[in-house]
């Protein structure tokens, strides 16, 4: 079938990465917006969480869909990594890149796996607990500087991942035009830094 064929093609796989990545960015936006309630107060955040959990649709469908997207993004990423290693099975003696500042694109698989680790830890600590007391769970968690450090490290890794991922997603979608490339280049800085700042600020709220 044409759809399966598309997905199996090299460009199809790029699209899977880009589309799932796009969904994950949207999720990050909503997550950031929800968590921003913490800037106001813990009870407001608790109220937001209660609201969220009062919608069966969100719990039963959206959260599962999100997990699915996450799994797709991760497995396709790992699959691509393995496939691509085979396509260039013999490396060069001198490993050198012609592109300056290619650290982010070079390390996508590693930053990705680190984020996976973070997500597992984060869901274990937060989502599987009692959502009725999530406000307390969070303030307890973030009272430990070690946890905050782990979180902030993860956000930095996420920002690095996004600094390539966001631009890469647009490129895959075919958005590359001299008229907009400057804007896109700026966005590749703004988007990751935005998420880094907002999430880090939240985790730091509880220390100070």
């Amino acid at each position: 079938m044409f759809f399966i064929q598309f997905l199996k093609s090299s460009i199809g796989k790029k699209w899977i990465m880009a589309c799932s990545g796009f969904c994950l960015i949207l999720f990050l936006c909503s997550h950031a917006a929800g968590n921003a309630t913490l800037f106001n107060s813990i009870p407001l955040f608790q109220a937001y969480a209660d609201q969220l959990h009062s919608h069966p649709l969100i719990i039963s469908v959206l959260s599962k869909a999100l997990s699915l997207v996450f799994v797709i993004h991760t497995t396709t990423g790992v699959l691509l990594f393995l496939q691509n290693r085979k396509a260039r099975s013999t490396g060069y003696k001198v490993q050198k890149r012609a592109v300056k500042y290619s650290q982010a694109s070079r390390t996508m698989i590693f930053s990705g796996l680190f984020i996976l680790l973070y997500v597992l830890a984060h869901t274990y600590a937060v989502s599987f607990g009692d959502h009725a007391t999530i406000g307390l769970t969070i303030s307890y968690l973030f009272s430990s500087p070690l946890v905050v450090l782990f979180y902030i490290t993860s956000f930095i890794v996420l920002a690095i991942h996004l600094s390539h991922g966001f631009w890469s997603m647009l490129q895959t979608f075919g958005v590359n035009h001299p008229r907009y490339n400057k804007l896109i280049r700026n966005l590749t800085y703004i988007v990751p830094i935005f998420f880094l700042l907002i999430f880090s600020a939240i985790s730091l709220l509880f220390i100070f």
Binding site: F2, F3, Q5, F6, S9, S10, I11, G12, K13, K14, W15, L80, Q83, N84, K86, A87, R88, S89, T90, G91, Y92, K93, V94, Q95, K96, R97, A98, V99, S102, S105, R106, M108, H164, W167, S168, Q171, T172, F173, G174, V175, N176, H177, P178
Partner: protein, 251 residues
């Protein structure tokens, strides 16, 4: 033009044939004029090897003016060497310094098996073109050249893509051994022109499918291809191919 001479140490990949297991060999070259091109430097090495009775280094080359796309090797980790938008034959030794060690490796990719030393088999690129990199017109019976006006800017964009010399440096430099820039350039050239419209979808489908079949890797947008391309072909052409392929797949 200031001519000086430098001494070099070369580490070159030597491999007897496609089945042999290759390895690096080190050679010393003295008194290399900085006015030489990189390939002339290899010529000097080969003359030296021949006089010693050893096997000269096999390397592909032909026009030596940067347009045929036959030459190419990876110099110290960079395809076609350190100068941007320059093929190996147009790279001059003045860009190197006294006492430098140059590691010279063949273009590597699963789709480019090695024949001997630095000579690789890039016929996979030809097969991508054969899959659809053309406009299906027979000789004769074509309309007057001016019957379809093409905006100058469009012709220039198409020409940007068409200037690909098919050297394969994009594949060699890609950490994934992908041929997206090569394929994207040809798809772009023809999709931009009115002459390419009738077969636009079939072409995108056929060429991408052929590319995948040849064993090239996937694109992860690392931009290495664009950085080493001797003709400065932009990855905008890959973006265009992505669009073309999606359109062809779904609509």
């Amino acid at each position: 033009m200031s001519t000086t001479s430098i001494n070099l140490s070369l580490e070159i990949w030597r491999q007897k044939d496609s089945k042999a297991k290759g390895d690096f060999e080190t050679y010393k070259l003295t008194n290399i004029s900085t006015d030489m091109s990189f390939l002339e430097m290899l010529d000097v090495l080969n003359e030296q090897l021949t006089r010693e009775g050893s096997d000269p280094v096999a390397f592909d080359h032909d026009c030596r003016e940067g347009i045929c796309g036959m030459c190419g090797a990876v110099i110290n980790g960079i395809a076609h060497g350190p100068e941007p938008e320059t093929t190996l034959c147009q790279l001059h030794m003045r860009h190197f310094n006294e006492g430098d060690t140059l590691v010279i490796e063949p273009f590597r990719s699963r789709a480019f098996p090695i024949h001997k030393d630095l000579v690789t088999d890039r016929s996979a690129l030809d097969r991508i073109i054969q899959a659809g990199g053309y406009v299906s017109v027979n000789t004769g019976g074509t309309p007057d050249g001016n019957s379809t006006p093409i905006p100058s800017a469009t012709a220039e964009l198409s020409m940007d893509a068409a200037s690909c010399i098919g050297c394969g440096a994009c594949v060699a430099s890609c950490p994934n051994g992908a041929a997206m820039l090569f394929t994207g350039a040809k798809i772009s050239q023809l999709s931009l022109l009115p002459q390419g419209q009738p077969e636009r979808k079939e072409r995108a489908m056929a060429m991408v499918t052929a590319m995948d079949k040849e064993g090239f890797g996937n694109c992860t947008n690392e931009r290495e291809c664009e950085a080493v391309c001797p003709k400065g072909i932009s990855i905008r052409n890959i973006a265009r191919m992505n669009r073309e392929f999606v359109k062809a797949s779904f609509f």
